[in-house]
């Protein structure tokens, strides 16, 4: 048997693992996990053909809490691990997840290159603007002046705006969600996961323990939904770039950009037929190669 029978979920609770969770009560990670489960369930994805790849950080525990295959990798490295998985078995749905420190700090070069490469991957960033697992230090998305244990006089660098970088690096789908609006976030996830190509979703996620500035209330006062603006054209890359600069008094959520780029996998003839992992390796004939050296 080379293909497995399709597993169809009857109930969303089949995505629960029952593993103990150590997130703080009220953590935005709960909203993200619930929205992701709902998205997977509504899309009727086979959990055995789905893998969630995380880095290291509070939110990177997510694979242990979602009953799909999982890989809890290294800080900042979820994207290259996910890319390797996609190369090996491009029939799998591969979703990478990690925090802002993970993706926009230590892993930033992988983020840029993943966007440029445009493998068919989904990348969710749990962006809480603070390092929480290490108990409260400044992150790449912390506001200027943000006081933390490592920046007692306040952060000097301005915050990093990931959506613009994703768009200019070539990401074919760029969106933003809010962990406090699960129905909306679920729809954003469904669109991202269904998109063919590299889909980046930045999720605004309050950290109730260490970030006393960017709270649920702070976000609720500022966010608005892009889809409410019927004139907004999410296929327009330049408009999306402009929109990505919008931060402060008003913060857009929803799909910023949904472009149409051919995916990397399609250009690789080695993967045109069977996934690499299903190709026979037991008796490789190297005689034609050896002849070249005679």
């Amino acid at each position: 048997m080379t293909t497995k029978p399709l597993k169809i979920l009857q109930n969303i609770t089949e995505l629960d693992t029952g593993a103990k969770c150590n997130w703080c009560p009220g953590c935005g990670d709960f909203g993200i996990l619930i929205a992701l489960k709902q998205a997977l369930f509504e899309l009727q994805l086979d959990p055995e053909m789905t893998i969630l790849v995380s880095g290291i950080g509070c939110g990177s525990q997510a694979p242990h809490l979602l009953k799909t295959y999982g890989f809890h990798s290294l800080h900042g490295r979820s994207l290259p691990v996910a890319a390797g998985m996609k190369f090996a078995n491009h029939r799998m749905k591969v979703i990478a997840i990690g925090g802002d420190g993970d993706g926009y700090g230590i892993g930033i070069s992988h983020f840029i290159n993943a966007a440029r490469r445009n493998l068919d991957l989904t990348y969710i960033v749990q962006n809480n603007q603070v390092y929480s697992l290490t108990k409260g230090q400044t992150s790449p998305t912390s506001e200027s002046g943000y006081k933390s244990k490592t920046t007692p006089e306040g952060a000097i660098e301005p915050p990093f705006h990931p959506l613009g970088l994703a768009i200019s690096s070539g990401a074919s789908f760029v969106a933003r969600g809010f962990a406090g609006d699960i129905p909306h976030l679920k729809e954003v996830f469904k669109a991202a996961i269904s998109h063919r190509g590299f889909a980046h979703v930045d999720v605004l996620q309050p950290c109730v323990t260490f970030n006393k500035i960017n709270t649920y209330r702070w976000y609720q006062e500022r966010i608005y939904k892009l889809e409410d603006d019927t004139s907004y054209d999410k296929k327009n890359r330049l408009e999306a770039l402009k929109k990505a600069e919008e931060w402060g008094e008003r913060i857009p959520i929803g799909v910023y950009f949904a472009g149409d780029r051919s995916i990397y996998e399609e250009a690789v003839p080695q993967m045109a037929d069977l996934p690499l992992c299903e190709q026979e390796i037991s008796d490789v004939d190297i005689d034609p190669i050896l002849k070249n050296y005679i």
Binding site: M1, T2, T3, K4, P5, K7, T17, A19, P47, E48, M49, I51, L52, V53, I56, Q61, P63, H64, K67, T68, Y69, G70, F71, H72, S73, L74, R77, P80, V81, A82, A83, G84, M85, F87, A88, N89, R91, M92, S109, H110, I112, N113, V268, P269, Q270, M271, L276, C277, Q279, I281, S282, V284, I286, P288, I289, L290, Y293, I294
Partner: protein
């Protein structure tokens, strides 16, 4: 083996970017096709143009075990080549240069050996007269060097024909005419027998391959069923990437050049986790970036093959030169304690065979396996018998099939099951009923996070037991070292890796002189062959440790494992490979 006097060394030197490497490859190919044994060693600086490049080719009727720095034919394409290499000539050597383009006062040279012949061939003028492209001066020079060695011109012609025929017969004839002009110029103006050494074809010799250690590793990986390679270019392993990539479409292998070495190893691990055979390759600085993820391979028990081709460090060091200084680095890289295999191939056959073994062991024992080479082995070419590979069996250990997985009860699957051997059943994502998460954090048998002391000890012991099983089954001690020569000797040389050829040749030279010398080759640094090495060294007479590094790292590993101190050491760490002559001299001095 050849005695030093029955082989000869041909060296072409000139400015980088002027086809030196191609010329060396062509000369080596012609000699190999003539049934001769060849060893070719390139030296070049870390730049594209300018600087001094050489290609050294040693040729003999019997197996050539390494380079010999005493030059019999010096083909000097510029003044630097004369300035730098006239002091390296052998007795009876010939020097070929273009005296019209590069006037040179040989009378001012001190201490030229006896009987050196100076052969001035106007490469530039001949090329112009034949209305050939300027770059074809090299072809004139190649023809001239065959005349100096009294070689048959047909040997050149045959290789030119095989090389250029697909470009058309007129290209073959043009190249042949240019080479012939250089050949004839020498015969007409200087006569025959200019060099004390002769290039004589061996009639009826077996066809052999001419390839580098890197080629052997790449071919071994393809034979093993490699499906995915991710790497970042770095001397001296880049040609492995290129060989794999060149065969990618035909063999269904993806070779992905990544943004950095960190991505390279993480991607390879991601691919291997899904059930394909995957590898990466790098040198010191690049491997330094890979060390964190190396631990991930160990912790998640994901098979991984890493080729580490070393060069002089620390840091950027001397990027295009050779050194064996990363033995300890590879043995200990990454945090924490975990098992790994470190193969130390000494020649092309071992590069091929150890690569085959590494892919099997990585999967059977679900751990990282290294092939540790260096620039000297990786980039030197030598004639090699055609690899025997029909007997190779792909062994995938406890990797399950989808059918196996269908029999698992959902929720029961223990990816990290605490078995007697430490080796757990391996289902890959995409299989039914086996959902699990692999984690770099400590985890229990199911893969769930567990930091209790009891679980930690259990899982550490489980992973460690794989190394015990590997030592007794997968890679028994007898395969991890080799004693060359007679068991009974007054002197035992200890070495590993690329020094194998030069040490073997020095040992043979010493034995011819009536000395009783043997050579203990360490073929695997981890798991270290403790008992075998201890037994041999305990009853050895004198012991000499020979390494291409400054700290005698293998002598340290031996001391650590056996308690035996080797105080006689012959170490070279100037970026140049050890050669048989200097090792022999050291043997004599003991």
């Amino acid at each position: 083996m050849n005695s030093l006097s029955s082989s000869f060394t041909w060296l072409v030197g000139g400015e980088a970017g002027y086809g030196i490497t191609t010329m060396g490859a062509m000369f080596a190919r012609i000699c190999a096709r003539a049934g001769l044994h060849v060893h070719g060693y390139p030296e070049y600086p870390s730049l594209i143009r300018g600087g001094h490049n050489t290609a050294m080719v040693r040729v003999g009727a019997k197996k050539v075990l390494g380079h010999d720095p005493k030059i019999d034919v010096l083909l000097a394409l510029n003044k630097d080549a004369l300035d730098l290499h006239l002091s390296e000539l052998n007795d009876g050597a010939a020097v070929i240069y273009d005296g019209e383009s590069v006037p040179y006062d040989f009378s001012a040279v001190q201490g030229l050996p006896a009987g050196v012949r100076i052969v001035s061939v106007p490469f530039a003028r001949i090329t112009k007269e034949l209305e050939a492209d300027r770059v074809m001066r090299n072809t004139v020079a190649l023809g001239a060097s065959f005349a100096v060695l009294s070689g048959d011109f047909n040997l050149i012609y045959n290789v030119l024909e095989r090389t250029f025929l697909r470009k058309g017969p007129e290209v073959v004839e043009h190249n042949s005419r240019v080479a012939r002009a250089g050949y004839d110029f020498v015969l007409k103006n200087f006569g025959e027998g200019l060099c004390g050494k002769k290039l004589t074809a061996v009639a009826g010799a077996l066809e052999r391959m001419l390839l580098s250690g890197n080629d052997a590793i790449a071919i071994g990986a393809i034979k093993s069923g490699l499906k995915f390679m991710s790497a970042y270019p770095m001397t001296p392993v880049t040609s492995i990437m290129q060989t794999v990539a060149a065969n990618g479409v035909k063999y269904g292998i993806v070779m992905k050049q990544t943004e950095d070495e960190i991505a390279a190893i993480n991607m390879a691990i991601g691919a291997a986790h899904m059930g394909v055979r995957a590898m990466t390759a790098s040198s010191g600085g690049g491997f330094a970036l890979m060390t964190e993820a190396l631990g991930m391979s160990a912790m998640t028990e994901t098979p991984l093959v890493v080729v580490m081709g070393t060069r002089p460090g620390p840091s950027t060091g001397m990027p295009t030169w050779t050194e064996q200084s990363d033995l300890r680095f590879v043995m200990h890289a990454s945090s924490g304690e975990f098992g790994r295999v470190v193969f130390l191939p000494g020649d092309n056959d071992e590069c091929f065979e150890m690569t085959l073994a590494a892919f099997n062991l990585a999967e059977e024992y679900q751990m990282p396996c290294f092939i540790l080479t260096d620039k000297y082995l990786g980039e030197s070419v030598s004639t090699t018998e055609i690899f025997e590979h029909k007997k190779y069996k792909v062994k995938r250990g406890t990797l399950m099939s989808i059918s196996d997985a269908t029999r698992v009860k959902d929720g029961d699957f223990k990816r990290f099951e605490n078995t007697a051997s430490g080796i757990s059943p391996r289902a890959v994502p995409g299989y039914p009923n086996c959902i699990y998460t692999a984690a770099t954090d400590e985890h229990n048998e199911f893969g769930d996070l567990d930091e209790t002391g009891e679980n930690r000890k259990k899982m550490m012991d489980k992973r460690a037991r794989k190394m015990v099983a590997l030592k007794s089954h997968g890679l028994p001690e007898s395969e991890r070292f080799c004693l060359h020569g007679e068991a009974d000797a007054d002197l035992t040389i200890v070495g590993w890796g690329s020094t194998k050829g030069p040490i073997l040749e020095a040992m043979n030279l010493a034995c011819e002189k009536g000395l009783k010398v043997n050579f203990l080759q360490i073929k695997c640094a981890l798991p270290f062959p403790v008992d075998g090495v201890a037994a041999i060294l305990a009853k050895a007479g004198k012991i000499l440790d020979v390494e291409n590094n400054s700290e005698a790292q293998m002598a340290g590993v031996i001391r650590e494992n056996t308690g035996i101190l080797i105080s006689d050491r012959f170490l070279r760490y100037d970026g140049r490979p050890l050669n048989a002559r200097e090792i022999f001299k050291k043997i004599i001095s003991l």
